[in-house]
């Protein structure tokens, strides 16, 4: 049942209540991503950082396939448990495992077989490919583990045990942070050490999740009867997961394109710099996502209850929080970009390039905060197509042409500037779009 307080309680209090857990989860995720980069940058060197940055799209594609199964299955299970349809819910669980194993195997095997051409296509050079390959081979041998861990963790979360799912995440994050320096510095395994640490941390995370799902006291648990492949379940979960999958794949191709432009105009170090700046940007974007996730139920409910003034109020408040958060990132990038990037590298040249990249990339950040909130608002009040358009506009539609044209005049700086330029234009579009939506609220009936 929808908590009716969504329609009555003070907006500020509601936002705090709904956003806080999301923000914690988001921070954990982005820290997880940062840790590998930091240890590799500090322990292995600047070319390794570039090699790592080249692999991001491949990891994203693997994640995309994970969400293709995971999102749908989690949605279905939460639905079925709500209906107390335990038999089918457990069948979905069995099918999640089977689909993850199959897809994980296929994606992993194809990546391993075609590793070199893939990495070349993603922007690897003679200098960076050995690092990228060394790292990615280990990650892809562990691909099934990664898929199962994320997939089943989502299942645990949607089965009404978000805390247990969070413990698994934290366990993997902390373990990775401990194992990374151990393998890189103590065992002297180089970039491969970081990959081994990542996979091992996920093995432990997976073991925890499997243990949770073996608990016979909960209605959802492993048993002999659930291992029957069911086309209907597969089709249903895949169709739910298709949208996030395609968005992931799209964003991955954008990163490939960016990497290739960077390589062409700025060489390997530029790719490494992008990897570093991106990690920092990502942290703030994730915080922002935490706020928007908190906003969604509040805006959605009040829109459904036709309390449009409350919709506008929660939108304004969330936008304010988002813009403030992103402004912190903006200030860091403008005042002390060197200090921020020195977390990832001590190579003077890479530091210079990264600091320059960070300053340019984050120059429109306060606007990005607003743009993301608008996109999410459109989505949760039912303007699905507009939400997709806005999301694509910033990360694809405006970005790609800029990425092609700007470097012709500005060289490598053109690649960096295409990002804030796209941020700016897509924010203007978002501003006018949401203004017309909000003005129309309640007037068309």
């Amino acid at each position: 049942m929808v908590p009716v307080e969504l329609g009555t309680e003070r907006i500020g209090k509601l936002l705090k209540q709904y956003a806080a857990p999301a923000i914690v989860a988001m921070t954990a995720t982005s820290l997880y991503n940062m840790v590998d980069s930091i240890f590799i940058g500090q322990g292995v060197g600047p070319m390794a950082i570039s090699g790592l940055a080249v692999t991001f799209p491949l990891m994203n594609i693997s994640t995309a396939f994970g969400t293709l199964v995971g999102v749908g299955a989690a949605t279905l299970i939460s639905m079925l448990l709500g209906q107390k349809d335990y038999k089918i819910a457990n069948r979905v669980l069995g099918n999640v495992v089977m689909m993850n194993v199959v897809i994980g195997l296929v994606v992993g095997a194809l990546s391993i077989i075609f590793m070199n051409p893939i990495l070349r296509f993603f922007g690897a050079s003679d200098n960076t490919i050995s690092y990228a390959r060394e790292y990615m081979m280990v990650i892809m041998y562990g691909n099934i583990i990664t898929h199962l861990y994320h997939g089943l963790n989502g299942v645990v979360r949607s089965s009404g045990r978000p805390k247990l799912a969070m413990y698994a995440t934290l366990l993997a994050v902390i373990l990775n942070a401990i194992l990374d320096p151990l393998f890189i510095f103590v065992f002297d395994m180089g970039i491969m050490g970081a990959a081994v640490a990542t996979v091992l941390a996920q093995v432990v995370g997976l073991a925890w999740v499997v243990k949770v799902l073996c608990d016979k006291n909960h209605v959802l648990h492993f048993s002999k009867e659930i291992w029957k492949f069911d086309w209907k379940i597969a089709k249903r979960s895949l169709s739910i997961g298709m949208a996030p999958f395609l968005m992931n794949v799209a964003s991955c191709f954008v990163v490939i394109f960016i990497n290739n432009q960077l390589k062409r105009y700025g060489g390997d170090l530029a790719i490494g710099a992008y990897g570093i700046a991106n990690r920092i940007a990502f942290l703030f974007i994730m915080l922002n996502m935490g706020f928007t996730q908190g906003m969604q139920p509040i805006a959605g409910f009040n829109y459904g209850a036709k309390q449009y003034d409350r919709v506008k109020k929660v939108f304004r408040l969330t936008a304010l929080c988002a813009v403030c958060t992103m402004t912190v990132g903006f200030i860091v990038a403008m005042t002390c970009p060197k200090a921020a990037v020195s977390l990832f590298t001590h190579d003077a040249e890479l530091k210079d390039i990264s600091a320059n990249a960070l300053r340019i990339m984050l120059s429109m950040f306060p606007l990005v905060g607003y743009q993301i909130v608008v996109t999410n608002l459109c989505q949760c009040i039912g303007y699905a197509n507009k939400a997709i358009f806005l999301s694509l506009s910033r990360q694809l539609l405006f970005l790609i042409p800029f990425l092609i044209v700007f470097p012709l005049f500005l060289d490598i700086n053109g690649v960096w500037w295409s990002m804030p330029a796209s941020d700016f234009i897509s924010t203007v579009v978002a501003f006018f779009m949401i203004r017309s939506i909000l003005n129309k609220l309640g007037k068309d009936e």
């Binding site: 049942m1 929808v2 969400t67 949605t75 709500g82 739910i240 949208a243 964003s251 409910f301 197509n385």
Partner: protein
């Protein structure tokens, strides 16, 4: 004694609503049809207009969104799907389900459509029906009810029924209109509306005494 719970699934134009209201009237119990929307609205604080737009329809309506499988979940932040917005179809189905369960707890009733047979499955005192009728009868009934031509009526039936079928299949994992999904299936063209209502009541009494 447990509450009398009768659910009636129906092909469009099979006279399902008419029969259901006769059954409810003769047994002196509540009829839940479109009014479920108002009850859901009251129970959840959401507006009835918003609910009506999504009533018994498999959303997303447009082809693009359907291809993407958009159901109001968090698709713009792919890595971090949330439980979905309150307005998502799945969320509304959950709300309506809990309203239907609550109504069934409180009193006897005849429930028309809205997957009630699935939502209430396994309860004492439940009997599930599915009503069909021959196509010409259905077309004639819809044409006169909505004041449209027979061709329009036929088209209307096809379009609306596909939505109903998808909606039911999506939420119940069963086949809409398939005899194995229900306790009893009746063709109202054979037996007529009044006889169907009487038959439902007498079957109910035979089974539950």
């Amino acid at each position: 004694m447990s509450n009398i719970l009768i659910t009636i699934g129906r092909q469009i134009g099979s006279g399902g609503l008419e029969i259901a209201s006769k059954v409810a009237e003769k047994l002196g119990i509540e009829l839940y049809d479109k009014n479920l929307l108002n009850l859901t609205a009251k129970g959840s604080g959401l507006s009835a207009d918003v609910l009506e737009k999504k009533d018994e329809k498999p959303v997303p309506a447009n082809r693009f969104a359907k291809f993407l499988g958009l159901r109001g979940s968090n698709y713009t932040d792919p890595q971090f799907y949330s439980a979905g917005s309150v307005l998502s179809e799945d969320e509304l189905f959950k709300i309506q389900s809990s309203v239907i369960e609550q109504l069934a707890d409180e009193a006897s009733g005849v429930f028309v459509g809205r997957c009630a047979d699935y939502i209430l499955r396994g309860r004492d005192g439940l009997l599930t029906f599915f009503l069909t009728a021959d196509m010409p009868d259905r077309v004639a009934r819809i044409a006169s009810k909505r004041g449209i031509t027979e061709e329009e009526a036929e088209k209307f039936i096809q379009i609306e029924e596909r939505k109903r079928k998808e909606y039911y299949g999506y939420y119940t994992f069963k086949e809409w209109g398939d005899s194995s999904s229900y306790d009893i299936c009746l063709n109202t063209s054979r037996i007529g509306v009044d006889a169907a209502a009487d038959l439902i009541i007498s079957l109910y009494h035979q089974i539950y005494g």
